[in-house]
Symmetry: C2
Subunit: 340 residues, 2 copies
Amino acid sequence: MRAAVLHAPGDVRVEEIGDPTITAPTDAVIRVSAACVCGSDLWPYRGTEPIQAPMPMGHEYVGVVEEVGSDVRTVRPGQFVVGTFVAADGTCEICRSGYPSSCVNRVFMAQVGTQSERARIPHADGTLVATPGTPEEDLIPHLLAASDVLGTGWFGAVAAEAGPGKTVAVVGDGAVGLHAVLAARQLGAERIIAVSRHEPRQKLAREFGATDVVTARGDEGVAAIKELTGGLGAHSVVEAVGTQQSMQQAIRSTRPGGHLGFVGVNHDVTLSGEELFFSQIHLHGGPAPVRRFLPELIDLIWQRKIHPGKVFDLTLPLDRAAEAYRAMDERRAIKALLRV
Amino acid sequence: MRAAVLHAPGDVRVEEIGDPTITAPTDAVIRVSAACVCGSDLWPYRGTEPIQAPMPMGHEYVGVVEEVGSDVRTVRPGQFVVGTFVAADGTCEICRSGYPSSCVNRVFMAQVGTQSERARIPHADGTLVATPGTPEEDLIPHLLAASDVLGTGWFGAVAAEAGPGKTVAVVGDGAVGLHAVLAARQLGAERIIAVSRHEPRQKLAREFGATDVVTARGDEGVAAIKELTGGLGAHSVVEAVGTQQSMQQAIRSTRPGGHLGFVGVNHDVTLSGEELFFSQIHLHGGPAPVRRFLPELIDLIWQRKIHPGKVFDLTLPLDRAAEAYRAMDERRAIKALLRV
């Protein structure tokens, strides 16, 4: 089958690799309908994260089940499924407590690769959720978004305890940040401040529910958010970047007793214990437990109540994956969808 | 009046200073019945924290109201009161949300000093809580504990979401850690693991409700806690020291999705964003909002249901404050009470 493979920083090629097969009775093999390029794919692409090349890429996917192992109970061949970016057994104590992304038997799908014609999905029962039927074509991007970026933004908003009466600030205007805005709106937040300096992203943030836009970053961004919140900071802040500057901005934008949901994968970030102590904020984040939210997200999408797929502003066939990576890397695209 | 004053690291003297007076209509002046030496007093005493000598010491206190300003409504002269270690107005948005220790008008009592015959208490209404009557002599140490160490340990356990069905680990066997054990028991925790290598403190931890004791520190301590919790870590961890090692032990002892309440004042602690991200824990702490818990704590003490004053294993008159500091510094005493 054909798959996007990273050979070296900046060098993604679509080439033939071996077909996936069922290797454990809990596996499924799916035919991928659509995959996409994630902000976190750019870390190895940019060489910021060490790579073991050649490395099959991708961890976001929707598709049709082709084959299941003998222990799989909840999905069957022919069903259209949305999968999560971490495969989880669904049965361990951590999964049952709502944290499948920290499952004791988890497999990061990024280590498997889903920017390909087919994919093996470990722990199919804990990882895949079938849609109510075969989706109409226009629903596919929205469902694909649920696989990671929507689920991750949603978790950020939940971890930040966005809800009625709350002012929510979102640091980061990538797909995850924009979906955190959407989630905060769905969760009933009163006011939603998007931090963005890119006009098209600001526009989408407003469409998703942002009431205010702050363009400043760092300490100036903090000051702007404080000015909008009576000098106190936001009740809820979602961090959706993962850099030192964005984490600091997010921490300092949260009021004492407030909640910071951090879902940008942290890279080389160092936090001061003293600052966290005296900030008196709640901090929670990590790889999003998307499986917890997936049934609800699929339902909202199926009913056409939310349209998260609007973050895809570039659609290309799988064979042109290299172009998709370049566009994301150069920030010409918010998020690129790959049709398979 | 006489007061304990720090002149230089290791040099505490009890000497005459000016009597406190009402300086704002929200002030009260109290006659201090008892004060004590806190683990956090040892930071400037040891020179770890810069001092502006001479510096009146202390921030824990109980006593009798002598005089109140014209705006004070909830306490009156003659009442016995327990005060919190942060004075708070009780009316700002942060106070009303349950975080008086981050009040926008807060005054750290450590900047005022309470190891003295009298003390001026700013924001009396938001800071002092009157007991139901004049306490019997034997209740005074228990009430004094509520002023900081009990309230702080209690907040740690609340921030760690200690409760029924939970396994709670407490890192630190000072007064705050021991009170976190007591709080976890009161909050209904199923299993309470105290981390302590000092036999008398282990004994008190067990008396307060610890079901297990771990003596190892650092990564060995983490391994010991994991072994007691099916390899997962505790649901709830309270950090009550504030050093790099204890914070790391606490983070690594918390299971994914679990809660870490950190109440040891952090000094020179650096946390890895990556580690926090992938740990997927909840982190919350800071200076404890003791005022939130004080009515309940006073009630439990008044009914003799809890005996937090047992942490005082050294009682001296105020004039011998220097001895009390030395005993705490050398870990000969868990906590020293000063009778005034």
